[in-house]
Amino acid sequence: MMQQYTRLFKSKRVKICLFIILSFIFMALFADFISPYNPLETDLSKSCRPPSFEHLLGTDELGRDILSRIIHGSRLTLTISFVATALGAAAGIFFGVISGYFGGIVDTIIQRITEILLALPGFLLAIMFVAIMGSNLWTVIISVAISMTPSFVRMVRGLTLQVRELEYVLAAKQLGVNDIKIMFNHIIPNVSPTIIAQVTLNLGTSILFASGLGFLGIGVPPPAPEWGTMLGTGRAYIFYAPHLIISPGLSVFLLVLSFNIIGDRLGEIIASK
Amino acid sequence: MESRIIRAVDGIDFTVREGDCFAIVGESGSGKSTLGLSLIRLCPGDVSGEILIDGVNLLKLSEDEIRKFRGSKISIIFQEPSSALNPVMKVGDQLMEVFTVHGYSKSEAYQKSLQLLKTVGIPEAEKRMQTYPHQLSGGMKQRVIIAMAIALNPRLVIADEPTSALDVTIQAQILNLLKNLSQSYGLSTILITHDMGVAAELCNRIGIMYAGKMVEIGPLNSIFAIPLHPYTRALMSCIPRSLKENLKPLPGHVPDLSNPPKGCRFHPRCPYAKEVCTLEEPNLEKIDDRLVSCHRVGEI
């Protein structure tokens, strides 16, 4: 198992991606120290300045330093991405394992609900959810999490169905190990590799999702420097000051790309096992 | 990915005579399948040495030439009948392919395929041509695969554990079929198996493989009667024969081929091992009607 992960890091691509992700994490952690300006400090007289030595990535429509906003924005983006994925995956694992392991009526109910949620495009669900709860960091996180939960449930349930029929699970049952322990000790660890790959991919997807909400203007509320919101705002200035959308767009792209490459590689390794 | 060089087959040297059925027997992982695939040049790794069929060295042929050889001069039957057939292609089409790829017209191919299916004992051949593999039982599938292998009357058929995925009753039928075919067509066959019984049913000569090496080659009857190599001997005594006779199991297991033991590869498990065995690799020596590779063959 450890070998799989060492194999992961043998790839050069993965190393680069990991480096990118770690740099964003570093930026997020030390944003207060490394960002050259206060990301919220407006100066209307300096609005929409193109990149210069003073402002490496230029300034935005209110004269705020874009680099500082990107740096501080990584905090939001990574928070949303990690927390939402963690919540979504946790819920997915919980319901998926229960549904797959116990079967019967519990399974039917969970499956029906999953189907209902899957029949509704996740993005619309998120739009409604944000509309109900008002947009703030938490509603964005929760709506991203909710929209990814059903497919997690599906996947985990499928894996659980396979694992629960395996001999070592049957043997544990015959020994009289209780269901909770079987789920925690046997099922979850054995479905986890596939889940980990999926989670990695979802880290990327959730960023696209959250920044999509931001782009539509219903993401993390202003003046927070969320990348998607920056993109959505910058879009109004696309001809006048294209630099407003270049760096947030690129940041989203790079981070998502890195998560996707790592997730893909993980998936390959797990499949090749 | 860390790469390890596995010499699955190492310095194997043997001949199969026309019309012979040669059995290769050995434990799992001893390199039997690798040997089989190498013979038809389908083994993913590097193959060195010489594979001569009617004097033609297969290893010297170009990719195109060897392709023409495959199916027509040399063919192979695999262990898992259910995965060896393309699940989304009709059985008939898969069978006809053998003919069409070697230059037959469609209609000829169809006629020949029908004939073949009858030969391998599939009733209602016309109907079966139109079915998909999953609609056939395991035994039937194996018959289809056998039909493909013998379609162009090849010089050599390699059968890699053709029956180990099948029930005994069906195994008996398939073995029977193979026997009849080789009698009536004069096929030369290499039968790869780990079951001495299966080898005994079908073959007249046998080679015992251990860890990528041949340890004993000779006529089946004499080897079964008096096994000379300690490994052959141990293998025989592992088979539960008559009722309640105690088994004498062979300790340990097949070595890791990426790092085989020095000297005689069998020495760690051999009750007769002496110092020479740990140092020097024995060669196949001719003893009476067979070849044996053991330092101590005369002493035990």
Binding site: T42, L44, S135, I218, P222, A236, Y237, F239 | -
Partner: protein
């Protein structure tokens, strides 16, 4: 580049519109047969009285026409009406119609049509979003074929000016369609220069020329309003020559558009006054000094210049300058020191926390303005949290709450007024009888003197006395600051330089009657 509001229209007419306002130039240009205009939203209904948006209402004004209208300065002019008179008690308004005008379906314009229109407007079963403007109207009666009389419930001086809103429809068409289908099926029902041709929902609305138009036929055969919700896309369509006129191009691109060859901009001030409503009944905001401090804390000129790309004109009164009753005040200059001082005087030197509600995508750069306001207020020690709900929630939070329950302390909002009279702004917004919920005094502002002035001015028939009253009221309001007074939003159209004769009114509307396009 600096952009100043420009007026593309030539001199105006005051009483009639028999002739085009264009300089009657010598060579008649080759005209383009089809005019293509990119707009942002689709119509919900084609009912001329059922409109909620200025834009669609604007399109309706090409098909149907009101009794009175305004010119590009915002002054009242006669349209279908020939003349009017008001009784001395102010309770009866008599309007004489022009003669010889025909509806597109052939029906003659007469008193019957006017009565039918106003009866429909008063019918509670009909959805009429601006019905509140007719609050004073009791009934309509036919005096003779070309004269109608409006009987009012109470003397309401601005009444005639409200008549600019109501389009007169043909009784014949109304009868043909019936109440339930009006608005769903395009039909010839007005006296305007253009007729319905086609409405493909979500895609386009096409109008064609009405050849017998009383003001003379327009110079193109057809106009297509393409529905393109994204400003960027609309702009791109103009640049790629797919459309001739673009409704509200993206403000940030105006400098670039202005510099683009072949593109012209029509930028005009509008009557939409943008303000920050202050909940005057809450915490520190009860104190007028605090509210004044808020006014001093915001650099409106910088906002206009840097955030709004000059798409606004600084407000020196809540009333639009061309409106009856406008009286200019001294603008609160940007003076954060003074603001801090005022706050200290009020006992809030250490600051406090407020919530600012801002709609998103409703007004020009509304969210950006919100963020800038937040930033300005933080500089005088006031922590502001932004609340950015979508429009329905915004409206609910604005006018659906009482003064204790509003989820905001400050609210960025605009009031677009269609009646060119100070009463239209001051009464519903500042009179204490108009407190929310359900009404528009959402600042919960109350000043007895102002109340009295506004009450009296409504009933006063003498216009000079009314002017005085409004001047006083504006002065008091200005000093008490229930708003952070900001600016009047500008209205922009971008068009190809082949388009000539476009007239823009300060009501965020434009007129196509004199438009022609060269090829």
């Amino acid at each position: 580049p600096q952009l100043q509001p420009t007026t593309t229209t030539p001199s105006s007419t005051t009483t009639s519109l028999t002739s085009s306002p264009t300089t009657t130039s010598s060579t008649p240009p080759i005209t383009q047969k089809v005019l293509r205009i990119a707009i942002g939203i689709d119509a919900d209904t084609l009912d001329p009285h059922g409109q909620t948006t200025t834009l669609i209402s604007n399109i309706m004004s090409f098909i149907t026409e009101p009794l009175f209208y305004y010119n590009e300065k915002g002054e009242l002019i006669h349209y279908l009406a020939e003349s009017y008179s008001v009784s001395s008690d102010g309770l009866k308004v008599t309007v004489t119609l022009k003669k010889g005008i025909k509806f597109q379906d052939g029906y003659p314009l007469n008193a019957t049509a006017v009565k039918l229109t106003f009866d429909r407007l008063l019918n509670p079963k009909v959805k009429v979003p601006s019905r509140y403007l007719l609050d004073a109207l009791n009934s309509t009666e036919i005096v003779d074929q070309y004269t109608v009389r409006f009987n009012l419930k109470y003397a309401y001086a601005p009444f005639v000016r409200t008549l600019t809103t109501w389009y007169i429809i043909s009784p014949l068409a109304y009868q043909k369609l019936g109440e339930e289908n009006l608005g769903k099926t395009p039909i010839d029902l007005g006296t305007g220069p253009l007729k319905f041709k086609e409405w493909v929902k979500g895609d386009h609305i096409t109008l064609v020329r009405f050849d017998d138009y009383w003001g003379g036929p327009v110079k193109f055969e057809e106009v297509v309003f393409k529905i393109v919700p994204e400003a960027q896309t609309r702009e791109a369509m103009l640049l790629s020559g797919e459309v001739d006129i673009v409704y509200q191009p993206p403000p940030a691109d105006l400098p670039k558009l202005n510099a683009t060859a072949g593109v012209k901009l029509a930028i005009n001030p509008s009557t939409r006054v943008m303000t920050v409503n202050i909940n005057t009944q809450r915490g520190p905001l009860k104190d007028a000094r605090v509210r004044q401090a808020l006014n001093y804390a915001v650099d409106k000129e910088a906002l206009i210049k840097n955030v709004l790309f000059n798409l606004a004109t600084l407000a020196d009164s809540p009333v639009y300058p061309a409106f009856f009753g406008y009286s200019p005040q001294k603008v609160y200059e940007y003076n954060p020191e003074k603001a801090k001082q005022l706050l200290a005087e009020a006992g809030y030197s250490s600051g406090f926390k407020l919530t600012l509600m801002v709609p998103t995508g409703r007004y020009i750069f509304d969210r950006q303005v919100g963020e800038a306001l937040q930033s300005y207020l933080s500089k005088v020690g006031i922590t502001v949290e932004l609340y950015t709900p979508d429009w329905p929630t915004f409206v609910q939070s604005l006018i659906g709450q009482n003064y204790t329950s509003t989820p905001w302390d400050l609210c960025y909002v605009g009031y677009g007024m269609t009646t060119p009279d100070a009463d239209a702004v001051l009464y519903p917004v500042f009179h204490s009888s108009q407190w929310a919920p359900g009404k528009f005094n959402t600042m919960f502002y109350k000043n007895e003197r102002v109340d009295k002035l506004l009450d009296d001015a409504r009933r006063e028939v003498d216009e000079s006395k009314r002017l005085q009253m409004y001047a006083e009221a504006q002065k008091i309001i200005w000093e008490e600051c229930p708003w952070i007074f900001l600016y009047f939003q500008n209205f922009v159209l971008a068009h190809s330089d082949k388009v000539h004769g476009l007239v823009v009114y300060p009501y965020e509307t434009f007129d196509l009657r004199w438009v022609y396009a060269t090829q």
